[in-house]
Symmetry: C2
Subunit: 448 residues, 2 copies
C-alpha cells in the first residue's frame, strides 16, 4: 500500500504553523519524539504493534509538491510567513533516524514503540500521519489477536470492509487483522496489494435472484464446480440444508449468517452428515465479536471457522487507540536536553528510551524495563526497539507480512495467560530503570 | 477526493464470485438494490446522509485494469471460471441508474437513501465500496450534527486526524463533519482537496522546545504576528495565562487542552480581561464528546469554540453504521419481480421505493411514507430520492460542499425537538404506504 500523492498535507495544520515558527526562529536542532500509548482501550492487557511498514513508506516518499505549497501560500494563517519557509518546504525530505518495535511485537502502556530523531521541523510535521496509521493498525492487530484467541484454534476471516471507515481503512484493517492472526480477508484489494489470502461465498442477493434456493445452488455450482460454498440462511437455514443434502453438488462449505448459530450448526451438521457430506465445512458469520466467540467455542460446536466483520475492523468495543507522540529530547548547545510535559494527568517520561524485555525459563514475558537508550542492561534483557531508518533511508529491510505474522504468533505465545483474558486489564509488567526513574522524578518535581 | 486506482478490487471476494456465477448462467437482467439502515447506532434518533459524491465518483471511474484481471485469473477460487468472464470484466463499466437522497438530508431507519438499478452483475459488484463510503460518512455527519447541537451555537472544529482509522478516514471524516455542521477541521488535506476551512494552534512540543513558555510565546508571535494562537496547558494553565497577560502580544486565541476546563476557562477569561485582552477567544479541546459539551454548555462558560477529535472521527460511542444493501427487484420475463429476504430478524421490504416527507405548517417534519416508486402521493408530500445517475453518467450536477452544508442546516431545523435529544432513540416517524404494506405482508407470509 503506497501513500497518497498528497500525503504531505495529510497532517494537522498546527504541525505546519509550528514548522513555520521553528523556521522563522532558526530552531534547527535535532529533536527526539516517541510514540507510545498512555492507557489501554477497554478490556485490553497488551497491544500488538502494527503499521510500521506504512509509516516507513510515508517517510521515504514525503515531499511537498508545488500545488501543496501554493495552497499554503494562499492560506490565511500563512499570510505573513516569509517566502523562505515555502522554499524550505520545496526542498523538504525526511532525513532522520527511526527506531521501532518490529510489527507484531507485543507491548504494554508507556513503552515507546517508535522513536524518531530528526531536525525538529521534520520530526514535528510527520506526527499526525504516523499517529493515524500506527494507532489504527495497532488497534486492529490487537483486536484481531483477541478474536483469534477466542476462536480457540478455528480460523477467523476478516469480513468487515463494508463497515470499515472507508476503503483505505478496510485495506489497513485487513492487513492488521492478518498480522493479528486472522487466516485471511474477504477484501480482494488486500489480496491484490498485500498477498493476503482472500475468501468469499455468496450473498443473500444471489439466492434471491433465483426462484428457488435449489436453483440458486445449482447455478452457483455450475460456475464453481470444484468447491462451491453456499449461504443457507436467506429464508430458512434448516430447509436450505435439506435442499442441499438432496442435491448432487459437493459443497466445500456452508455459511450460517443469522439465528442461533450454535443450535443451527449442530442441526445442519447432522443433516449434512446424514447425506454423506461430512467433508462440508460449517462457516459462521454475522455480528460476531471476541466475546461472542468465547461463549460459542466454550461449547462443543461443529463450527469450522468464523467470519468477523464490524466488531473487528472498527474495534467496536473501543474504536480508538490513544497513542501519542511526544517530544522527549532536544539536541542543543552541544548537549541533549531532556523534555517532559508536566500538565495534570498528562505527564510524560523524558529522554530517548529503549525497552528491554526479560523472558522466564519457559519463554514467557517476565518483565519489561524502560531505560534511557544510552544505558546498558544485562545480556539476558532483550532490546525491543531496532533501528529502522538512518539519514532518512531504510537501515535494514523490513520483514514480509508472513514474517510479521509468524513473529506475532511467537510473541502471543510468550504472553502469560493473565494478559490473554478478554475482560479487565492486567497490570503492565513494566518498570523504569533506576536512572530513568530518578531523572523523571527530578524533572517532574522541578516543574511543580 | 478521487477513488484509488485499484478501487475496482476494493470489494468483497463474494461480489466477484457471484458476478462469475451470474455471468456463467447468463443472468443479465436489471436488478434494483437499495441501501438503508435497519437500526440506529446507540442514542441516535435520526441520521444525516453523506458520502454520495464519493459514491458517484467511484461509479464513474470504476474499471478493471489488466493487472486486476490477472490477479483474479490466478486466484484459486477462479481456477475453473471461463476466460469469457475475464473478457467481460475488461469491458466492465457501470451503466446503471442511481437515485439517492441528496447529502445532508435527514433520514430515519428503514428508508432507502440510495437505489441502484443496473444489470445485476454491475449492481452487485459495487455493494462493498458503496457501503463502506456511505456508512462511514453518514455515521460521522450524523455524529457531527449531535456534537454541533451540544455546542449550543459555539463553533466546533474537527480535530481527530491522529485517531481516525488511517489518513483517508481522516479526510472522509473531515468532509462528513463539515457536512454535519462543524466550522472546519485541523486536517490540511481536507482544506487542499475539499476547500474546507482549516484551523490550528500549536502543540505542547512547541512550548517544550524552548526554555520557558514566555520564550515559546514570543517566538511563535514572531512568525505569526497578526493573530497568534497559544496553547496554555503544557505545564500550568493559569501560570501560562498570567505570562501571556504580562506580554505585549495580542493573542487571537488561547487553547485549553486538559484539566477542569469549565473552571479554567473562567479563570483564564478573568486574567485575560484584566490585561485588556477581552478580544482573545478561548478554545477548548481534549477528550470532548457531545455528552461532555452538553454538560459544559448548559452552564455559563466563557468558551468560544471547541475542538473535537477522537469522539467525532470514530463516532466513539458507536463506531459503525449498520447500513445494508439489499436486492428488492429483478426485471425478468418482461416484468418486475419483487424480492425480499425473509430470514428471522433480517426481513427486508420488497420493491423499488421512494420516500415521501410531509412537513407541518411550522416547517417541521411530520411524517415520512415509504412507498413504491411507481406510486404517486399527494402534492404536499415531497419525494426525497432524486435521480443522480442515468446510463452510468451523472444525471444532474451534484451540489457543492457549501450547498450540502446549508441543506443540512435546513434539514436539522426541520427536525422536531424530540429527535435532537442526545440519549435514547425516538420512534422513527415512518410508515409504509398501504400498497407497499400489503405487498410486503403478502411476500413475507408466502415465505413462512
Amino acid at each position: 500500500m503506497q501513500p497518497n500523492k498528497d500525503a504531505a498535507l495529510a497532517t494537522d495544520l498546527y504541525e505546519l504553523t509550528m514548522a513555520a515558527a521553528y523556521f522563522e526562529n532558526n530552531v534547527e536542532g535535532r529533536a527526539t519524539f516517541e510514540l507510545f500509548v498512555r492507557n489501554y482501550p477497554k478490556n485490553r492487557s497488551y497491544l500488538v504493534a502494527a503499521g510500521l511498514q506504512e509509516a516507513v513508506d510515508y517517510l521515504l516518499k514525503l515531499r511537498f509538491e508545488e500545488e501543496h505549497i501554493e495552497y499554503l501560500r494562499r492560506h490565511p494563517n500563512f499570510a505573513k510567513v516569509d517566502e523562505s519557509f515555502f522554499q524550505y518546504l520545496k526542498r523538504f525530505e525526511f532525513s532522520g533516524e527511526v527506531w521501532a518495535m518490529p510489527e507484531g511485537t507485543v507491548f504494554f502502556t508507556k513503552e515507546p514503540i517508535l522513536r524518531i530523531t530528526a531536525p525538529i521541523i521534520e520530526a514535528q510535521i510527520v506526527e499526525t500521519y504516523l499517529l493515524s496509521i500506527i494507532n489504527f493498525e495497532t488497534l486492529i492487530a490487537s483486536k484481531a489477536a483477541r478474536v483469534v484467541d477466542a476462536a480457540r484454534g478455528r480460523g477467523v476471516v476478516e469480513f468487515g470492509a463494508r463497515r470499515s471507515h472507508g476503503p483505505e481503512a478496510a485495506l489497513l484493517a485487513a492487513r492488521a487483522s492478518y498480522i493479528g492472526g486472522c487466516i485471511g480477508t474477504s477484501n480482494v484489494l488486500a489480496g491484490y496489494q498485500l498477498g493476503i489470502p482472500t475468501y468469499g461465498t455468496m450473498a443473500h442477493s444471489f439466492i434471491m435472484t433465483f426462484d428457488s434456493e435449489r436453483e440458486a445452488f445449482e447455478r452457483f455450482s455450475k460456475a464453481f464446480p470444484s468447491d462451491p460454498a453456499f449461504l443457507l440462511d436467506t429464508y430458512d437455514t434448516l430447509e436450505a440444508a435439506k435442499i442441499l443434502a438432496s442435491m448432487s453438488v459437493r459443497p466445500y462449505l456452508v455459511r450460517l449468517d443469522s439465528g442461533n448459530r450454535v443450535e443451527l450448526s449442530r442441526k445442519v451438521r447432522r443433516i449434512l452428515d446424514q447425506a454423506g457430506m461430512s467433508y462440508t465445512k460449517i462457516f459462521v458469520s454475522g455480528d460476531l465479536s471476541e466475546y461472542v466467540l468465547d461463549e460459542v467455542t466454550r461449547k462443543k460446536v461443529p463450527i469450522d471457522s468464523f467470519g468477523v466483520g464490524t466488531e473487528l475492523v472498527t474495534s467496536r468495543d473501543d474504536p480508538a487507540l490513544p497513542g501519542i507522540y511526544k517530544l522527549v529530547a532536544l539536541e542543543q548547545r552541544g548537549g541533549i536536553i531532556f523534555r517532559a510535559k508536566t500538565s495534570e494527568g498528562k505527564r510524560t517520561i523524558p529522554g530517548p528510551k529503549q525497552v528491554y524485555r526479560l523472558h522466564n525459563s519457559q519463554g514467557k514475558i517476565q518483565r519489561d524495563v524502560i531505560s534511557l537508550d544510552v544505558e546498558t542492561q544485562p545480556p539476558q534483557m532483550k532490546p525491543l526497539l531496532t533501528k529502522v531508518m538512518h539519514n532518512g533511508q531504510v537501515h535494514s529491510a523490513l520483514p514480509t507480512l508472513q514474517e510479521i505474522r509468524e513473529h506475532t504468533k511467537m510473541e502471543l505465545k510468550s504472553l502469560p495467560p493473565r494478559f490473554h483474558r478478554l475482560r479487565g486489564s492486567a497490570t503492565p509488567p513494566v518498570s523504569l530503570s533506576d536512572r530513568l526513574e530518578q531523572i523523571t522524578r527530578t524533572l517532574w518535581n522541578s516543574a511543580s
